[in-house]
């Protein structure tokens, strides 16, 4: 009896001691910062009272949220841009990845090499990708200006100097790189029972019909999963902006993440409370996005 009890205690001790490091790490890196940004979003905290945040008072408790949506033009632009980038990843990256996955799953000669090439931009550092596109867009040494000059002589396009083009410049530095999504989709396609395809072929279905009537419907849950990952990437976009446009020209390519960085760390007029408010909004938007996409693709058993 006693022996059993000591064994039980040992077991509890083991469980605690094995869980402790992970829980500590979670508390320090996730829980504490999360609680911190939530509470300080109701405080006044900027470069004037740098030392400690001061509660805004119950009458003004939502002041940061009110101001960020009404008077903070940079935040509003960042919010709109981030939403645009979410929509663009859904409209461009996802269909493009699905198309490539369908094509590569036909195993034409060279499919493996093409697949690997497609994945490379996703596994190298985004800092490198950013720097590459910064140079591609540069009027002095890039190729975009040169190509445009060949089509329309004397046009001298400067992608990053124009507000509208800079947005598209940032977009095309990531939106076509759907390699990881494509890998996941291909894994799913290859796991489909080949018997289904044989039956369809016997019935005389063309390969286009097979793709649209059989593969795509079966692929739907996985398209939902990759959409969540890709849309999240669009929502959180930071590296490409920091390296390519630096938020410019004239703050036109701010994203939510870039706004948070600029407001908390990277400018003269710091406003920590406001950056944390934007952080809370970003987290909320992320959860909303996952909910919407899951509903859209109606994945089974609440996955």
């Amino acid at each position: 009896m006693k022996k059993k009890k000591s064994r039980l205690n040992k077991r509890t001790g083991f469980i605690l001691y094995f869980l402790m490091p992970a829980i500590l790490l979670y508390l320090i890196i996730y829980a504490y910062p999360l609680i911190n940004i939530f509470f300080t979003s109701f405080c006044e905290w900027n470069s004037k009272n740098f030392v400690a945040p001061r509660f805004l008072g119950w009458d003004h408790v939502f002041d940061n949220y009110r101001k960020i949506f009404t008077v903070d033009a940079n935040f509003q632009r960042a919010l709109i841009n981030s939403i645009k980038w979410v929509i663009l990843t859904m409209l461009i990256q996802i269909p493009w990845s699905v198309l490539v996955a369908l094509v590569l799953s036909k195993r034409e000669r060279g499919w493996r090499m093409t697949r690997n090439a497609f994945v490379i931009p996703n596994i190298i550092s985004t800092a490198a990708i950013g720097l590459i596109f910064l140079n591609l867009y540069s009027p002095a040494r890039g190729i975009v200006t040169e190509i445009c000059n060949k089509i329309v002589p004397g046009s001298n396009v400067s992608v990053l100097a124009n507000e509208k083009w800079a947005f598209w410049g940032v977009t095309f530095s990531f939106v076509l790189f759907g390699g990881s999504s494509c890998l996941l989709l291909m894994t799913q396609i290859f796991s489909i029972d080949p018997g289904i395809y044989e039956a369809a072929k016997v019935d005389g279905a063309s390969s286009l019909q097979i793709d649209t009537r059989i593969t795509l419907p079966l692929l739907r849950p996985m398209i939902g999963t990759v959409s969540v990952i890709a849309a999240n990437y669009g929502l959180l976009l930071y590296n490409e902006i920091a390296l390519i446009s630096g938020g410019g020209p004239d703050n036109s390519t701010y994203s939510l993440s870039f706004y948070i960085y600029k407001t908390a760390l990277g400018s003269q007029k710091l406003n920590f409370a406001r950056a944390n408010t934007a952080g809370v909004i970003q987290i909320f938007l992320g959860i909303l996005l996952v909910g919407c996409i899951n509903r859209l693709f109606h994945t089974k058993d609440g996955e």
Partner: protein, 282 residues
């Protein structure tokens, strides 16, 4: 029927038009994915980098500069130390928790899984300011230790899901046999479970390694002294500091990405497995 399945390299047929379309898409993928890197590679040998043409004469100045004047080795060593240590710490810590959850029934078990799942919804940029302050208070700002600490906690959800599902597939008899032989809980975990779980640990480790190796945001805000920077942080500096030395910048990009590309090409099947395992949970 089974012949086709075995012989995975062969195409599934289709009309001539379909084939042309497929090759066209594949060509497009190749251009989009490879051309930007190839362009930088070719440009890095030009006297004045950039433009569409091939170099008139091939110049290696950029590569010489980054190894002699810029000391890119230092940044590689920093990246390597930070990535290895943080990957080992995070995989070890998460493996311990994942094992306990996968194998033992206890109060609050579901809570641990929930805890790891919530990290998927907490983007690191949103919470970066409190983390930045905290590291400042701990005296870890601009230190490799601080970055290692943060990296150990990033991406733990993915590691957790991979490892937890892997541990659940190991037969229970293994542990029972160990217990009869007088192995304690910790002994069983270290000597029996970890060796069996090597493939799962490798999958999780590759994912964590890749993410930490490429991480840019925290590296760029935390590391300010050049001798402590990682490769991505160094690349970030090029937008301003070194932009006058174009050959150096182009060569540095190539030197920064080539190791990843080479390792990926050598181990592509392993990588593909890791990349798909890592994201299945979404």
């Amino acid at each position: 029927m089974s012949k086709r399945k075995k012989n995975g390299e062969h195409s599934e047929g289709g009309s001539r038009g379909a084939k042309i379309f497929r090759y066209f898409i594949m060509l497009l993928v190749m251009i989009v994915s490879v051309y930007p890197i190839l362009w930088v590679f070719i440009s890095s040998f030009k006297k004045n980098p950039g433009g569409l043409s091939l170099p008139d004469e091939w110049i290696f100045d950029g590569y010489v500069t980054i190894f002699t004047k810029l000391d890119i080795q230092t940044y590689f060593i920093n990246s390597f130390i930070i990535t290895i240590i943080s990957t080992v710490i995070s995989v070890a810590i998460v493996a311990m928790a994942a094992y306990v959850v996968a194998r033992m029934k206890f109060f609050g078990r579901a809570l641990v899984t929930l805890m790891f799942s919530t990290t998927l919804f907490i983007p690191s940029v949103s919470i970066s300011f409190p983390i930045y302050r905290l590291l400042g208070d701990l005296g870890l700002k601009d230190t490799r230790a601080g970055v290692i600490f943060i990296y150990s906690g990033l991406g733990i959800a993915v590691t957790y899901f991979i490892l937890q599902s892997y541990f659940s597939t190991i037969p229970k008899e293994m542990e029972e046999a160990a217990k009869i032989d007088g192995c304690g809980y910790t002994g069983t975990f270290v000597r029996i479970i970890l060796p069996i779980a090597k493939p799962g640990l490798a999958t999780a480790g590759i994912m964590a390694f890749l993410n930490n190796w490429n991480e840019f945001y925290f590296a760029s805000i935390l590391l300010k002294s050049p001798e402590k920077m990682t490769i991505p942080a160094l690349l970030g500096q090029f937008t301003s500091a070194y932009s006058k030395n174009l050959n150096g910048m182009f060569s540095a990009i190539i030197v920064a990405v080539v190791p990843t590309i080479v390792i990926f090409c050598l181990l592509s099947e392993t990588f593909v497995k890791s990349l798909t395992a890592g994201a299945v949970k979404g």
